[in-house]
């Protein structure tokens, strides 16, 4: 739940509860005041009756007044207690209305009368209703104002926070993007921004150090490898090598070869990640793919792989050298993880370039295949091929996805 919604919810619930309580209190207070008024009017009327009786020693004449009804009734002595009641007020030809009544008594010596004075409460209730209605209206208006201002003010107030959050989402440790300057008058946000900026700079710095270490180490390794390689080339010129010795030499060549490839892959990865290979132009994917397939021809044959392809015309804006590496890596994988007599299919359409191969019967682990040095158990590769491929795709805003569709492992580059 968003901060704003959470805040609004708490705020609104509290406001509504408080308003309900105060509304109730308000209602009770107003109605009790008004009823009190009514009761006073009834008492005045009662007093008038008493005064009349005292003066005239007889009951006053009962007459119908528009909002008051008085009735007398002779009852046994001392059977009445004086009390105010809520009762019904009957009016001629009209619906009964609610009314407030006062039951009292008068003792005239020879007779004992019950007095019932009833006044209509319609006016009072109407007043309460109006007052209550206005109050509710004001409350609703207030709530609405609260919600709107909250939304506006909070949104604006939290804008710097969302800006920082957005920047963090875009942050990539190998990217060139820095967290931009923040323009806020809120101390907390400024502090947050400062810390976030400092942290990203630090992280990037450390990452750069790590990368330049990789690059330097790889470079330094190249010279000894070059020497080993050249010495091996010199050594095989020697006549009279035994079979055992030549086997040793072949193994040494193989090992040096792997070392070289690993080094080159690491160097390439550093370069691709740092986007050091600029030189971008339109690359004809169809021609390039055909070229790569021809390049791998003998290897397909030696593994008895059946390659079929269906290529449409497609150009992408990229670096040709890197696209070559990308295709070469994906094709190499398709060959490496295949079985003798397996199948490779290459499809180039306007949506994607897909390379499918038969191989293991189980899908690869999506979340691991693109990580560094992840290799399947029997792989001879450096474990960097797919990481490099993924990075190349990222450089040119291409997507690289893996799918398993029995029996094909599919790698697709989407543009």
């Amino acid at each position: 739940m968003k901060l704003l919604d959470k805040y609004n919810r708490v705020n609104l619930i509290a406001a509504i509860i408080i308003m309900l309580i105060t509304g109730g209190i308000y209602y009770l207070a107003i109605s009790s005041i008004l009823i009190n008024e009514k009761d006073k009017a009834l008492e005045v009327e009662e007093q008038e009756i008493f005064d009349y009786v005292k003066l005239n020693h007889k009951l006053p004449q009962v007459f119908e007044s528009p909002d008051q009804q008085i009735s007398f009734k002779q009852v046994p002595k001392n059977s009445i207690t004086r009390q105010f009641i809520n009762t019904t007020y009957y009016k001629k030809y009209n619906e009964p209305e609610s009314g407030r009544g006062l039951i009292s008594f008068i003792d005239m010596g020879h007779a004992y009368y019950k007095i019932l004075i009833v006044e209509s409460k319609v006016e009072t209730e109407y007043l309460i209703q109006i007052i209550f209605g206005i109050t509710i209206g004001v409350i609703l208006l207030l709530l609405l104002a609260l919600v709107i201002t909250n939304r506006l003010i909070l949104n604006r107030l939290w804008q710097p926070f969302y800006n920082i959050l957005g920047e963090l989402k875009l942050f990539h440790v190998s990217g060139t993007r820095n967290i931009p300057q923040l323009d806020s008058s809120v101390d907390e946000f400024n502090e947050l921004h400062q810390e976030v900026s400092a942290m990203t700079t630090r992280v990037k710095q450390e990452y750069q150090n790590l990368k330049s270490f990789t690059e330097n180490a790889s470079h330094e390794l190249l010279t000894p490898i070059a020497i080993i390689n050249s010495k091996l080339d010199t050594l095989i010129q020697t006549e009279n090598l035994s079979e055992g010795q030549s086997k040793l030499l072949t193994d040494l060549y193989g090992a040096v070869n792997r070392l070289t490839r690993l080094n080159q892959s690491m160097l390439l990865l550093v370069k691709v990640e740092n986007r050091l290979l600029k030189d971008e132009h339109l690359v004809n994917l169809k021609a390039l793919t055909e070229e790569m397939i021809i390049q791998f021809e003998e290897i397909f044959q030696s593994k008895n792989l059946n390659i079929s392809y269906n290529l449409d015309e497609k150009q992408v804006y990229a670096n040709r050298y890197l696209m070559e590496i990308l295709l070469s890596n994906l094709l190499s994988n398709a060959i490496r993880h295949n079985y003798n007599g397996g199948e490779i299919r290459v499809t180039l359409t306007n949506e994607c370039l897909m390379i499918e191969n038969t191989g293991d019967e189980f899908p690869l682990k999506q979340d691991q295949i693109f990580t560094r040095f992840h290799k399947s158990s029997h792989s001879e590769g450096s474990g960097l091929g797919l990481t490099i491929s993924k990075q190349i795709c990222e450089n040119f805003n291409l997507s690289l996805d893996y799918n398993f569709k029995q029996p094909y492992h599919q790698f697709s580059i989407g543009y």
Binding site: L222, A226, I227, N229, D233, E243, I299, Q301, E380
Partner: protein
């Protein structure tokens, strides 16, 4: 052929020198920027092998001096720096080729041969080896005036062999020369064998001698006998 090897790494320099000398070339060496500068200002070479990172200065400066003086020496840059920018810079400045360390000596030899051929036989692109005649621009092979059909890879392999005649060339080097980076996938180099078999067959059928020998199971040797 007179070659100058500018390389500060002793082990590598010695290997290169030995490899070229055995094939009958004259080699001189320089292990620093200043020695190299002195030599290129005094003498002329058919080909200069130039390392970029040198004690005392950059190989790029040597290249610039050579170009400024309008020397016709062939220049092959050998460097551990394999970034494309370096490559382009070197070639833009007038280097003839660029080889990234580590490399096979046979590959180096093939590249040097290509450069010197271009320099020496300007316009004339016929490579003659005994009875075998190769037209490098038309990419055709003739033996005793009989044209032979060679595939692109067979053609490249034949030139590679001739450049390294008398030397054992490892299967690794052949594979890398022909297939580049993709080759590390191959579990074995059987497909090289079939290429070699084809070349031998085609040459012998056209009446040429059998020059290609297998060498101790780890490579091949093109013998000038």
């Amino acid at each position: 052929m007179k070659i100058l090897i500018i390389e500060d790494e002793e082990g590598l320099r010695e290997s290169i020198e030995a490899y070229f000398q055995e094939a009958g070339n004259i080699c001189e060496t320089a292990d620093s920027y200043h020695v190299a500068m002195a030599k290129i200002n005094l003498y002329r070479y058919d080909c200069i092998l130039l390392d970029i990172t040198l004690p005392g200065g950059s190989g790029i400066e040597i290249l610039k001096t050579l170009k400024k003086n309008n020397n016709k020496d062939g220049i092959l840059i050998i460097s551990a720096k394999n970034s494309l920018d370096d490559k382009l810079e070197g070639l833009d400045l007038g280097a003839d080729d660029y080889l990234v360390k580590p490399f096979h000596l046979s590959e180096l030899k093939a590249r040097v041969s290509a450069i010197t051929r271009r320099k020496m036989y300007d316009g004339n692109n016929i490579l003659q080896f005994n009875e075998i005649s190769i037209d490098l621009s038309a990419k055709t092979v003739t033996v005793l005036n009989v044209p032979i059909k060679f595939t692109r890879k067979e053609f490249a392999l034949l030139i590679y062999f001739i450049a390294n005649k008398g030397k054992v060339v490892s299967k690794n080097a052949i594979a890398e020369h022909l297939w580049g980076d993709g080759i590390d996938l191959a579990d074995n180099f059987d497909f090289i064998y079939s290429h070699i078999k084809n070349i031998r067959k085609k040459l012998i059928e056209a009446g040429a001698n059998d020059y290609i020998q297998a060498a101790y199971g780890m490579g091949y040797k093109f013998n000038d006998k």
